[in-house]
């Protein structure tokens, strides 16, 4: 498995083998994804959807096959419900601008949880600000789980929309989205799921979840940068006004009035990120063909092992100890700044992230300046955890 990911096999600072533990920020890419994109650029590169010539057809076929691969991965009823965007952030903004903003008014409420990523907060703040609607916050417990009772109350009030993550990028908490969506729907509240952190770790079935919208990024699921997905229920997507105007999204353009194309093209203006889409298709197939049980068991084992090893370190405190977690270990030292720890770990070849992880409201809630976060993917091992523990030992010696 590790052999398939070229970026894992390198040293930093001359001779220190890299241990990549920043997978929640972005994952490395398997060779099949890189090869697929290289093939596109060397043999198929051409604009899609409009050409009669061979390259354009090949590119278009590959492009639409990729859309189907993504639809298959998330079990979308139709590939027309897979809208390509630049990334999860754009997907969420798209929903905020075209679904929420035209419907929101001063009496409406949008609910987000206290542990959302900025990308799932700011778009809603902007939509609320533009319309006078109110943004309400679903509170959390200290361990990084949602306060379910408070959430039920919020949903029972007149709520226009719930936007929440599937998995927390800062703490790793897996939220019980299926049952939350059930509850929300019982109150007539549609739900937008930020799936940025789930795709690389969990099987996602948008129909089983009954999600109204589901957003994610390619680069966090072994795919290329610059590409993401917005899945939506057909009728919801079909009801959206156009988002960007331009080539490909139109039926007929005239100065007397323009008519728009059908889904998915209506929401994809301009030349798309063709190489990115095709690469994402390869990543979707890569994920789909994994032995899910084995991968899940392995990831669980590494996470469990990391928890145990880290918990045993004096002066270190795990942040986020929900019973349902995946692949993220956030922690702090009593008396070492995360930045100091991160800097020394970096010199030891350990790529971890430190800081607020784009969840400032969560950090404020937990009264932390930030955390040190080790986030794993299927290619990480117990040995990587051992390297991390050795590194933390060194950090403590240096700052002790």
């Amino acid at each position: 498995m590790r052999g398939e990911f070229p970026a894992l096999h390198q040293s930093v600072y001359e001779d220190t083998p890299l241990v990549y533990l920043d997978n929640a920020a972005t994952t490395q890419k398997p060779q099949v994804v890189l090869d697929r994109m290289a093939r596109y650029y060397a043999h198929e590169n051409s604009n899609v959807h409009r050409g009669v010539h061979k390259l354009s057809q090949d590119a278009t076929d590959a492009f639409e096959e990729a859309r189907q691969s993504v639809a298959d991965l998330i079990n979308a009823p139709s590939s027309d419900q897979v809208i390509f965007t630049r990334g999860c952030t754009e997907s969420l903004n798209l929903v905020a601008q075209t679904f929420a903003r035209p419907q929101l008014g001063p009496d409406d409420t949008v609910v987000v949880t206290h542990m959302e990523h900025h990308s799932n907060i700011v778009p809603w703040q902007m939509a609320c600000e533009a319309t006078g609607a109110t943004l309400k916050v679903w509170p959390i417990h200290d361990d990084g789980t949602l306060d379910m009772e408070a959430g039920r109350q919020l949903l029972a009030e007149e709520t226009f929309l719930l936007a929440m993550g599937h998995v927390s990028n800062a703490l790793g908490t897996i939220h019980p989205v299926a049952s939350i969506i059930d509850t929300a729907h019982a109150h007539g509240v549609p739900v937008v799921i930020d799936g940025a952190q789930s795709m690389a770790h969990l099987p996602v079935d948008v129909q089983a979840l009954d999600a109204d919208f589901y957003a994610f990024s390619g680069h966090k699921m072994f795919g290329p940068t610059g590409i993401g997905v917005l899945y939506g229920k057909y009728d919801l997507l079909d009801g959206l006004p156009p988002y960007h105007g331009g080539g490909d999204m139109i039926d007929e353009v005239s100065f007397d009035g323009t008519t728009y194309a059908d889904l998915p093209h209506r929401l994809e203006a301009g030349t798309p990120h063709i190489a990115g889409v095709i690469g994402l298709g390869a990543a979707a197939r890569f994920v789909r063909e994994l032995d899910h049980e084995a991968v899940h068991a392995h990831e669980e084992d590494v996470l469990q092992y990391a928890h145990e090893q880290l918990a045993a370190i004096d002066g270190l405190r795990l942040v986020g100890t929900a019973p349902e977690k995946t692949s993220v270990c956030s922690f702090v030292f009593d008396d070492i700044h995360p930045y100091d720890a991160g800097t020394i770990l970096d010199r030891l070849g350990l790529a971890v992230r430190t800081g607020h992880h784009c969840t400032q409201p969560l950090m404020e809630r937990l009264d932390l300046p930030g955390t040190i976060r080790a986030s794993f993917a299927l290619y990480n091992t117990r040995q990587d955890v051992d390297r991390l523990v050795e590194g933390l030992d060194r950090v403590q010696t240096m700052f002790g």
């Binding site: 899609v48 959807h49 409009r50 050409g51 009669v52 061979k54 057809q57 278009t60 076929d61 492009f63 639409e64």
Partner: protein, 157 residues
């Protein structure tokens, strides 16, 4: 225009035989253009939004109607190759039971070296033509009541 007693498969096979006489794509395309030219003229009054096949660079119209238990077809296009492709479909599918049209195996298009036109994304409309014809055939097959020509063709809108 086609022999009503032959089945769709028989007609498709005949077309494959015809095309197999050519050993290069130029011959095959010239023959396809011939097929277009031989297509009986379509009444301009039938070239309406209801019969227009969308999603093509060229203009294409296919008019379908019911004649007792059969489905009849006429077609035209302002591009010769598209007209030839329409002609192929009409040769094979005209005057056949709608049930058969709905289920028809049209893989002969691949066999005659016109596979590139089958790409769902080529803006030429063969794919759209087939989709539209099948949809209309399905509607005809399902509608128990005998519909008049005009009723059927206007339901194509």
């Amino acid at each position: 225009m086609a022999d009503a007693s032959s089945t769709i498969d028989e007609r498709a096979r005949a077309i494959v035989d015809d095309f197999s006489l050519f050993d290069d794509w130029i011959g095959r395309y010239e023959y396809l253009i011939e097929i277009g030219k031989k297509l009986p003229p379509m009444d301009d009054a039938l070239k309406t939004d209801a019969t227009r096949i969308h999603g093509c660079q060229s203009k294409v119209w296919i008019h379908t109607a019911r004649d007792r238990d059969r489905m009849t077809m006429q077609g035209d296009s302002d591009a010769m190759i598209t007209k030839g492709l329409a002609g192929l479909l009409i040769r094979v599918l005209d005057d056949q039971p709608p049930e058969a049209v709905r289920e028809a195996d049209l893989s002969f298009i691949d066999d005659i070296g016109m596979r590139e036109h089958l790409s769902s994304t080529r803006n030429n409309g063969l794919h759209s033509m087939i989709e539209q014809i099948r949809t209309r055939a399905a509607r005809l097959a399902e509608s128990a009541e005998p519909a008049s020509d005009s009723a059927v063709s206007s339901s194509n809108a």
